[in-house]
């Protein structure tokens, strides 16, 4: 099948790819760019494990064709790390709160929460629960994920304060 050129950036790195028009963004990220942190749990946009940020907005990468992303800035779970390469604030919060078990769904939660916290600095527990209610997790029962959203908000606020000082 013929391939089509497409250019986008992932976690700040520009890529020029040639992909089949039918190639899903999730497959392009995982198998062409080998950024395997983005996981595919259902292939029909329900579970949220494949969530990445496109120009800052959370989207299901299993429902997008890679060729439609020309010019986009994409952020995956790998891009949610600290500048040092260690755990970023949302990842740190998931670790501290035991908000993951098998870790398969976690990348989708990390990206979703990262986007959410950009415009929700101090969510209540109910708001935190609502924020993650579009992602499926089969291991944790969500209790600690909800806690992690709030903890991530605290850690993010701390980082922002550091930036200011």
């Amino acid at each position: 099948m013929t391939t089509v050129p497409v250019s986008f950036s992932v976690n700040g790195t520009p890529y020029d790819l040639h992909v089949e028009p039918r190639r899903l963004l999730s497959d392009a990220l995982r198998h062409d760019l080998r950024l395997t942190g983005t996981h595919v749990g259902c292939e029909h946009g329900v579970c949220g494990a494949c969530t990445v940020l496109v120009d800052g907005d959370p989207v299901r990468s299993c429902l997008l064709f890679a060729v439609t992303l020309d010019g986009a800035e994409i952020t995956t779970v790998e891009g949610c790390c600290a500048p040092s390469g260690g755990m970023g604030p949302v990842q740190q919060a998931f670790h501290e709160c035991h908000a993951l078990q098998c870790g398969f769904c976690t990348p989708g939660f990390v990206t979703t929460v990262t986007a959410y916290l950009c415009d929700h600095r101090d969510p209540t527990r109910a708001e935190a629960r609502e924020a993650v209610s579009g992602n499926l997790c089969r291991c944790t029962g969500y209790v600690n994920i909800v806690s992690a959203v709030q903890r991530a908000a605290e850690l993010t606020a701390g980082l922002t304060a550091e930036d200011r000082s």
Binding site: G41, H44, Q91, L100, C102, G103, T106, G141, Y142
Partner: protein, 794 residues
């Protein structure tokens, strides 16, 4: 001083990789491998007349197409019946690719291998399979009626009939002052891990060896099965579990057809081959569980104390029984929970249907058993007008009656003998936690606001830590790193953290020096697998025993080096030191160097162990009789029988008086799994189990059409709970150590899910004042129940 880690909420060592996207799950490997796709039966029951692959052959990138006729040697035989049982008189298992007949939608018929999954699916879509339709047997009723048969040579669709009894239960029931009969049904659900199955096989023709990565709960047994099926010497096969995205039981079954076919194709093609299960495949070609119908006769006195219990139930085992009768055996034994049943008899039929096969899903038959027994307790309480907690209390096994022998045989072939537990204390804690005695005031207050609420509870006992054994291997490297291996696998439970806590304590080393590997046959070859809440009990005990033996070895070597008595030494913070004189010490890395007498000084540390470096008795061999080089050891733990954890859950629900929407307002858990290695991990297991329990009670079911089509085989239609459906979970622990193992632990992995359907049924019944006999229950079903109830009681 080394801080004791056993019992501490140690953060997980697994997390940094997983949260940053650096986990390595099956489909994260083998980017350059060929990929497989399968043509699966679209029919529930049919004979295969012809397979025409001609159209598929033109697809660019196609590498191979295989049907049953291509399978040579033992790959063409039926897959193994993993757990035989004398009563399983008609056990049937599938072939890796369907031979002449398909018995459920989703059964693999043709395997396609191509340069990518996209191409493999292009080709699969062009394969034409001609079928002769046969009538489908769907549901327990049709299986029992047996007007049509799933397998021609299995009369009555009956795989097995099994009876266990402690006496003439029906006579005891009939002689009792009061008698109740109940019909109780529970529907199918499934483990449904977020990651499906997957296999990657690499054949090295030069080395004549096979390396297989598979998303399994038992790598050691997959290895044995592969060697047998593929006709390879076992020592040419290694099986590794990468990160596994959840299991919950479905991945203990093995070898799956794809686990045979993918390595088989890799060997034939001389190239790596990979298959990653997609979600629809997981729905229609993995396994389900839970579907059972029960008829109960119970006799009891005026106080509600049981005199006799007679249970007859029908278990829908799907099209095949590769995992034997484990699920119904567990239901039939664990149904008893914390109670003394009087005289007990249980009889079950395990029945074939033209649906996906049934194998353990977290809880494995216990949720059904618990649901039956707890419905019985609620029915007796209602009939006698006694508080539901009081009826339960009156039937409890008392702590002073432990160990308690039920006189039955459990799933491990050993007596159903409870080792310990304090059920009245557990119940007292639960009543306090949920505020049982104050609930009527809350109900009145809610009623005044126009709201309808109810409270329910359920109790369970869970046999955990099933044998036969697990082992551990520990080696202290010369840099002081402690390398631990155990053969069983991990699917997210935090085993590496939990086992490292145990080893760090037992060996006396800092936690961050310990590295644990699970489920890699290159590292440890003898193991059973991860199921039945057994890792902390089995591998936890095994690594503890191993650490003790390695510690002893370190003390012996250090005693010689420091020229002191072994009795005068202790290991603290990775150093062997003289008690009371900490300056006289040697670190474990140095002990490891000394443990391995060397000729060659390949590095500075090694130089200390070479033949001219240290004074030695010239008359003694450098490695004495009975000694082995290296600071390492292996040990195994094999218990006489299972250990029995228990717990009790209470639920407060609100039901909408108009729409019948059901909301769980509070979910309280009191849990006794003996001593806790890491309470944070145990609570995580409970949270996850509770969510699955809520799902199984209110949302999840497999909707089979009468023709055997699974109508809701997607996450859009099979309703797994999101965060918006799962309540906060309030937990209290009771610790009754197990006397059976060196750590006093009992299993914790499955407990959270067991009483979910039972407790929620109890709460809805309490809110509504009508009888619940069928779970899960949806708002529309509750609405219909209300209408029927109004008709009955105008």
């Amino acid at each position: 001083m080394t801080t004791r880690l056993f019992g501490e909420r140690v953060p997980r060592v697994e997390d940094p990789r997983l949260v940053t996207g650096n986990g390595r799950f099956l489909d994260d490997l083998g980017h350059d491998a060929l990929e497989a796709a399968f043509v699966r039966s679209p029919h529930a029951h049919a004979r295969i007349v012809d397979i025409d692959v001609s159209e598929a052959l033109d697809v660019e990138g196609l590498v191979a197409i295989y049907t049953y006729d291509d399978l040579d040697g033992r790959t063409g035989e039926a897959l193994p019946l993993l757990i035989p049982h004398p009563t399983l008189t008609h056990g049937r298992t599938p072939h890796a690719l369907a031979r002449d007949e398909v018995n459920h939608v989703g059964e693999a018929v043709v395997m396609v291998v191509a340069t990518s999954r996209y191409v493999a699916e292009d080709a699969a879509e062009r394969v034409r399979v001609e079928y002769d339709f046969l009538p489908a047997v769907v549901g327990i009723e049709a299986a029992r009626a047996a007007e049509e048969l799933v397998h021609d040579d299995v009369p009555g669709n009956l795989a097995a009939r099994m009876v266990q009894q402690t006496g003439d239960a029906d006579a005891a029931v009939d002689a009792a002052p009061n008698l109740l009969e109940l019909d109780l049904e529970i529907e199918r659900s499934a483990s449904m891990p977020l990651e499906g199955k997957g296999v990657l096989a690499r054949w090295d023709p030069d080395d004549e060896s096979l390396l297989v990565h598979t998303s399994t709960q038992t790598s050691t047994s997959v290895r044995q099965a592969l060697a047998a099926k593929l006709g390879l010497p076992v020592d040419r096969v290694e099986v590794v579990t990468p990160d596994v995205g959840g299991g919950f039981g479905v991945k203990i079954v093995h070898p799956w057809p794809e686990e045979i076919l993918v390595p088989w194709a890799a060997i034939r093609l001389g190239r790596p081959v990979k298959w990653t299960e997609d979600r629809r495949e997981h729905f229609v070609s993995s396994a389900h569980e839970r579907g059972q119908l029960h008829h109960v006769r119970v006799g009891y006195d005026d106080e509600g104390v049981l005199a006799g219990l007679s249970v007859r139930f029908w278990h829908d085992n799907g099209a095949y029984v590769p995992y034997g009768l484990i699920v119904p055996i567990i239901t039939s034994t664990q149904l008893l929970g914390p109670y003394k049943p009087g005289v007990y008899r249980v009889e079950f039929d395990s029945l074939y249907t033209n649906t996906v096969l049934v194998t353990p899903y977290r809880g494995a038959g216990r949720p059904q058993g618990c649901y039956v027994m707890e419905r019985v307790m609620d029915a007796i309480a209602a009939e006698r007008g006694i508080d539901r907690t009081v009826v339960r209390e009156r039937n409890f096994i008392r702590p002073e009656e432990m160990p308690y022998d039920h006189g039955l045989i459990f799933q491990d072939g050993r007596p159903l003998l409870y080792d310990s537990g304090d059920y009245p204390a557990t119940l007292a804690k639960l009543k306090k936690l949920v505020g049982w005695d104050g609930f009527e005031a809350y109900r009145e207050q809610a009623r005044a606001e126009g709201r309808r609420v109810g409270i329910g509870l359920a109790c369970y006992v869970e046999g955990t830590g099933v044998g036969p054994y697990e082992g551990g291997h520990i080696r202290v490297e010369t840099d002081g790193t402690v390398v631990v291996s155990t053969g069983l696998t991990t699917q997210g439970q935090g085993h590496r953290t939990m086992l490292a806590q145990i080893v760090a304590d037992e060996l006396g080393v800092p936690f961050d020096r310990v590295r644990v590997t699970t489920g890699d046959t290159r590292r440890f070859k003898y193991a059973v697998g991860t199921f039945a809440s057994r890792t902390a009990v089995m591998s936890g005990s095994a690594v503890a025993l191993t650490a003790r033996s390695v510690r002893d070895k370190a003390l012996t070597i250090a005693a010689e080096a420091l020229e002191v008595d072994v009795e005068d030494l202790e290991v603290v913070d990775g150093h062997v030191r003289v008690k009371g004189s900490p300056s006289s010490s040697i670190d474990l890395g140095a002990v490891a160097v000394l443990s391995n007498p060397l000729r060659y000084a390949f590095d500075e540390a090694a130089a200390r162990a070479t033949q001219f470096a240290a004074p030695a008795d010239p008359e003694k061999p450098p490695v004495g009789p009975g000694e082995q080089p290296g600071l390492e050891g292996s040990d195994y733990y094999s218990p006489p029988r299972s250990t029995f954890a228990n717990g009790m859950h209470a639920v407060v629900v609100e039901t909408d008086p108009d729409t019948a929407e059901i909301r769980v307002l509070r979910y309280c858990v009191v849990h006794d799994c003996g001593t806790l290695v890491n309470p944070m991990l145990v609570e995580g297991q409970i949270h996850g189990g509770v969510a699955q329990g809520v799902g199984g009670a209110l949302y999840e079911r497999m909707e089979y059409a009468p023709d055997g089509q699974l109508l809701n085989a997607s996450f859009m239609d099979f309703l797994m709970p999101y965060a918006s459906e799962v309540p906060e979970v309030e937990i209290d622990h009771l610790v009754t150590p197990s006397p059976l193992n060196p750590l006093g632990v009992k299993g914790a992995g499955e407990a959270g899910v067991i009483p979910g359907a039972a407790a929620i049924a109890s709460a809805i019944e309490d809110a509504e004042g009508l009888t619940i006999t069928r779970m899960p229950i949806s708002p529309s079903e509750l609405f219909a129940l209300r209408a029927a109830h109004r008709k009955e009681t105008p």
